[in-house]
Structures are given as C-alpha cells and as structure tokens.
Symmetry: C2
Subunit: 406 residues, 2 copies
C-alpha cells in the first residue's frame, strides 16, 4: 500500500469501521488513526459503550455505528422541536482533538485571511463583536444511505444522522466587516478544522477543510454554543463554523482558520469528497458538492406496531433553507394522502417542524410514508436518486415505516 492510496481507505474506515475487515494491509493506517481515545477503533457490532469524548450522551437514544459515528434512533425524536445535545448524532471525519481545547474556550484562536486586515482573533474577542442565535437542522450528507440498494460505502445511516439544534455565535459577516471586508476576488468561504493530522499522512488527503459559496455569508455563524451550552468537543467545540441549511460536513468543527478565497479548497474532502455522481464513478470537482440540504421528512412514531383505533402519527420535516409549508402522510404507501398538522412554534427556515396526523387504523399491515412541501412548492420526490456515495436521499418511499396494527 502506498501513502497515496492510503487516505481513501482511511476515510472509509473512519466512516465505516466494519469495512476495515475487508481491507488488506491497512494495519499501519489504522494504528496511525487510533489516537481518538485509548481504545482502537471498534467496528459496530462490537461497540457496546459510548466513547469517552461522547460519554455524556444518552446511550439509549443512539445506535453506535463506531467510535466516530453515532446515530439518533428514529424513536428518540418523536415530536421534539429541538434535539437535546445528549440525543444528537455524532459523525467525525477525523478523530476528535483532545478535550483540553474546550477547557479554556475563550483562548481558542482563529486565523482570518482573505480580508483587508488579516488577523488572528481569540474566541473571547469574537464573542464581543456580535451575537446571533439560529435554530438549524444538522444533517450528515449520507443520512438515508442505508436505503440505497447498491451498498453505498460509508456509515449506514437510516434517518438518524440529523437533529434540529440551536446555535449561538457571531455572524461571520460581522467579523469580516471588523477585519475590513473581503480583500477582493473572493468567491468562497473556506473553513479549516483543528483536528490533528496523524503522522505520516498527507494533510490535504485527510484534513477537514470545506468551502461554501460566498453568497451564504449572511447566514454563517462562528458558533460557541449548542443548545445554549458551550459546544462540547464531540460537536466541534470550542468553535464551529455553522452554515445553516447546509449539510453537516460544511459545518467545520474546531474551526481554526477561516479564509475568503477565490477557489474552493484543494483538500480531498472538497475536491473529490462529498460529490454527487453516478454509481461507480469517482469523485471530481465538476460534480455537485454537498452544500444545501433538500426538503425531507420521516415518520418517528409509531414504528413497528400499534393498536387499532385512533392513532397519532408523528414525524419531522425540514425544508433545508426554506420553510416547510405542509406535510402529507399516507398510510397506504402513497396511494392516498392526508395533510398533517405542523406542531409547535416555527423556529425559522433552517429548523425542522414536527408534524402529527390523527387517523383511524384497523388491524393489518401499513406502510406509512410522509411527503413535505416547502413554501416555494418544492416537494420530496418519490424515488431515491441513486449516487455512488448515497448522498442527499430525500425520496419519500424509502423513508417510510411498516407498521403492524393489532
């Protein structure tokens, strides 16, 4: 195995440790990455307890895919408008840094480039510039990957690589204004994570560095609070670049470098990673990047069985960057639809809306599906859009549940 081929496999190992067993000669790479905790990475079937950096999570709410990937159980959401941090999924692209970086959060430093007055600011200084609080869905690009029949590689997320959380931080725009504005020619916001790069690996091959279009700057936050508490290390504390409405990977954890750039990052995670392409095709820069989330919904209750008679069918719906206008629910796999009620306060266009439909069910087996529509009329498609890595799945048919009524 050469160094140049190693990182691809390492990425796969990190996303799906079970695949490690299929890889030959990767022992060195695995050892190099076993720095997240004292125990080496463990494959899903063996993982029975939460890793140290996430030990404060509610284990009963999570499916432990690996030490770096923990999925929120479908039944742990019910009708919650905000997902508790203890229940929120975890997905790390690299082993999390040592928790010592959140011990004195205000001392955390971020370098800003691509502005007229490039500078390094501490989190303590950022906190004094301005502050904003935004509710936003955090969702992994591969949420729903488990439904692809071609066996898309990566963590086999069902619906639980998503949560609706509240971020508090400084608007990036206010920071950029403080630093004299863009220095010219900028087309992207590029954020770099503060993870340690394992020895012997090429940083560009494994680092988390993502670029998003400059047009979304108005909504980007450099956030220090998740659900009104300091962001824990498992979720990117002490500081995370939050791009509301964009897939999880763009929300760079432990952000240590923010630049306004003319080009997208040349890190692998940007160049060929998180690119939507046909099955069997390699990732490349000319393919769509996993930026803006699409409209999506799923049922959260009931899941397997329920009793005959009146039933309340619950779920959640998100519009990505657009407010959800309505959600329809079908108990006959899409033959007929009924409009559900949206539940609770509207936390804004980036948040999700719980919904509920009251309906009568007689004994039998039901395929219950949901379909959301946003204020601009965009609806979920029926089918999945097959793609190599199983990204961005929002087809309503696959996201349904089969419930036996007795």
């Amino acid at each position: 195995m050469t160094t140049s081929t190693m990182p691809t496999e390492i990425t796969e190992i990190l996303e799906n440790p079970a695949r490690r067993l299929l890889l030959k000669g990767s022992a060195g790479a695995v050892a190099a990455l076993g720095i997240m905790s004292l125990t080496p990475f463990v494959r899903a079937e063996e993982l029975s307890s939460l890793p140290g950096y996430a030990s404060w999570k509610r284990k009963q709410d999570l499916i432990l895919h690996s030490e770096a990937t923990m999925e929120t159980r479908r039944n742990a959401i019910r009708s919650g408008i905000v997902t508790p941090s203890e229940t929120l999924f975890v997905r790390n692209n690299l082993p999390a840094p040592d928790a010592s970086i959140v011990a004195d959060p205000d001392a955390w430093e971020v370098r800003f480039e691509g502005v007229n007055d490039p500078r390094t600011l501490t989190l303590g200084e950022l906190k004094k510039i301005d502050v904003q609080t935004v509710a936003s869905v955090l969702q992994c690009s591969g949420n729903g990957r488990a439904f692809f029949p071609h066996g898309a590689s990566g963590t086999q997320w069902s619906v639980g690589a998503a949560g609706c959380v509240v971020w508090t931080g400084v608007p990036l725009k206010a920071v950029i204004d403080t630093l004299g504005g863009p220095s010219g020619g900028a087309k992207f916001i590029t954020g770099t994570g503060g993870e340690e790069i394992p020895d012997g690996l090429d940083a560009k091959e494994v680092m988390v560095e993502r670029s998003v279009p400059l047009e979304v700057m108005e909504r980007v936050l450099l956030a220090w609070e998740l659900n009104d508490d300091p962001i824990p290390i498992a979720h990117g504390g002490p500081l995370r670049m939050v791009v509301p409405g964009f897939y999880g990977v763009n929300n760079v954890k432990y952000v240590k470098y923010v630049a306004l750039t003319e080009n997208e990052s040349n890190a692998k995670i940007q160049v060929s990673g998180y690119r939507v392409r046909d099955v069997g095709v390699s990732g490349a820069p000319d393919q769509p990047s996993m930026w803006e989330m699409n409209i999506k919904s799923w049922i959260t209750l009931p899941l397997d069985t329920t009793e005959q008679g009146r039933n309340m069918l619950y779920g959640v719906a998100l519009g990505g960057t657009r407010t959800v206008d309505k959600v329809e629910v079908s108990v006959d796999d899409g033959e007929t639809w009924q409009e559900a009620e949206l539940l609770g306060p509207d936390l804004g266009p980036y948040a999700w809306r719980p919904f509920v439909l009251a309906t009568e069910l007689s004994p039998g087996e039901y395929r219950i599906v949901s379909r959301a529509t946003d204020v601009e009329g965009n609806s979920q498609p029926e089918a999945r859009m097959d793609n190599e890595r199983g990204y961005g799945h929002n087809g309503w048919r696959d996201h349904g549940v089969t419930v036996t009524v007795s």
Copy 2:
C-alpha cells in the same frame, strides 16, 4: 395549635422552611408533611444536596432554598431560548407524590366534570384526542419577592423562579369537545392536583386546586411532555394542566380532576392564597388572583464584574401573554436607555426572548437595568408594587444588577 390554624403555617413552612424555626409547636405538622422523601425538610442554609425527586437536576445551576424550592441561578440562563429541564426552578406547594405515578404514565386517570358527558379518561386516551406544542414561561407568583423591603413571607426568590419551557399535550378544548362540551353555567376551569393530603389535615386547607377563567380555555393544555421528554415528577408528571401566560400555581401538577365550574374553587390556595393585597392585609376572594403574568425582564450577564471595553449585556424578557416588542437597557440606573437586540427565534407570545446590547464600559461601577415593552405598548414600571406576599414584581429598578468594571 388547633387543626384549623395549622395549615396556614404549613403552607409557610413549605414555601420557606427556614421559618419553621420561628414556629412553636409545629413539630406534629412538620412530621406529617415529611413524606416527600426519607429525609425531613431541611432549611436553606443546611441543604447541600438535591432531594431525591430532583436528583437529576444540575445542582450548579440552582440555589437550593429547600427540598421543595430550588431557584435557577441568574447566571445559568444567559441567552437561552429554552430553559433545560435540568436547570428549571422547582416549587412544590405540597410534597411531590411518589415517583411511581410516572412509571406508567398512560395509566394515569383524570376525572372530567362540568361537561355534558362527565367521564374519567386515562392519559393514554388523552394522547389520542389531539396534541399541541407550546413554548411558555413558567414563573412562580413570588418571583422577585426577595426585593420587597417589608420582608414578604415565602421563598425569597430573586429572578430565578422562572424559565421558558416547551410543553406538549392535548388542548383542553379538544377534550371538552369530546365530552360533549360545557354542561352550562361554567365560568372557570378548575384543576385539582394529585398530591396526597397528609393525615389529620383538612384537604381544602392545603390541597392544590386552582381555578382560571373559562375565557382562556383555548390555550390550556393537559401536558405530558416538558421539553420533549415525559414530564418528571418534580414538574408535575405524568400530567400537568398548563395555562400559558399564567403564573406557575395555576399550572396544576399531577392533575387528577378537571372541572368546568360556575364558581372558583373553595380551596384555601384559591380563596385567600395567591391574592394581591396591601401589606398587612389578609388574603380574600375579592382581591386580584395571581393569574396572568405581567411584562418583565432582567439582566443575566454580566452580573458582578467585567472588563473595560466592549461588553455584551444579556438578559431575557417576557410579555406574559403578549409578544415582547422591544427591550431597552440602561447602564446608569435608568438615566439613559439604549434599545437591545432580540436574540434567536420567536417562540410565540408566551415565551421569553433573550436580548443583547453591545456597549462600551470604562472602569467604574454600573447599575445595569432593563425595561421591556410588549406589542400593545405595555412597559415595565420603574417601582415595585408593594403587596403583602410579594407577588408579581416587575419593576425594572429592583431587577437590575450592580457591576464593577475594571
């Protein structure tokens, strides 16, 4: 001591156990009430750990006044849109029932009267009627009592007998409709708590039974979830009658009886308790009852000291039943005011809004105060309204903080 005089003192003991030391001959009454846990009631200065029924709370966020009264620290709120259950204040009028009542919540029974089809329904049945989610401030009538100079009896709450939480339950209106509607002549909604009445006491003297005007029925919930989790025993689970915008006492815990009634309850807590009257006057039915909350705000950060230069002043503001329109902040005890920014999503008219004001402070001592105004133009008054029990304090002057800038 006669039985008829005992309950008044018991109420005082429950609200402020330190007063127990001042009472003569009350040992029997205290013993009769020592059923909340295995340890007897302990006065504030001695309470060093959370009582069993609230052992899951964040102790560092709370001031432990007594086993029945725990206040959220002013610095535990910061800019939170929703107060975590672990941080929410606790105030019980009677010892909490045994936690066994939340073990099988769906079996909890509630009797409905004053309707055309009076019936007993289980929580499981209520859950199938309808569901709604509402964000609402929960606040004790005596929040701010500590600021009254006449030494109003009861727990000496500062600002922390309040939190903004999310309730999920069935709209009472939907239940009443299911039961054939009001049976006629109803002017009040009367809810009765499921606490056990200690032996030897007259139930009407100590029971928690509150009546609120029928006009608010549209907003009343019978709630089974607090912040998207089943309501814990400390907060009235398995079922609580929630009246958004009304003071805490009207939100009857462990509700076991709901009636539409022509008259208000004849329980002491309604007849003479929670009545606003002049200092030295006894409670009576012709005085205003502690129903609707008034507009109020307070600073949450900084509190004691801060550094010179640019500072972010945080706080929260609630409008009771009306949306907060604006909050002004003064750093010179009300001489001059600046308008603050409201932070985060608006969770509706019953929720609070965090606010922030960025300002420059040079070394010195500052009295920082805040003043909220609702969409109908109602503003906080400057002064407290003196009243016997120290209820409903929303004067801005007393709620300020004195901060030393160095």
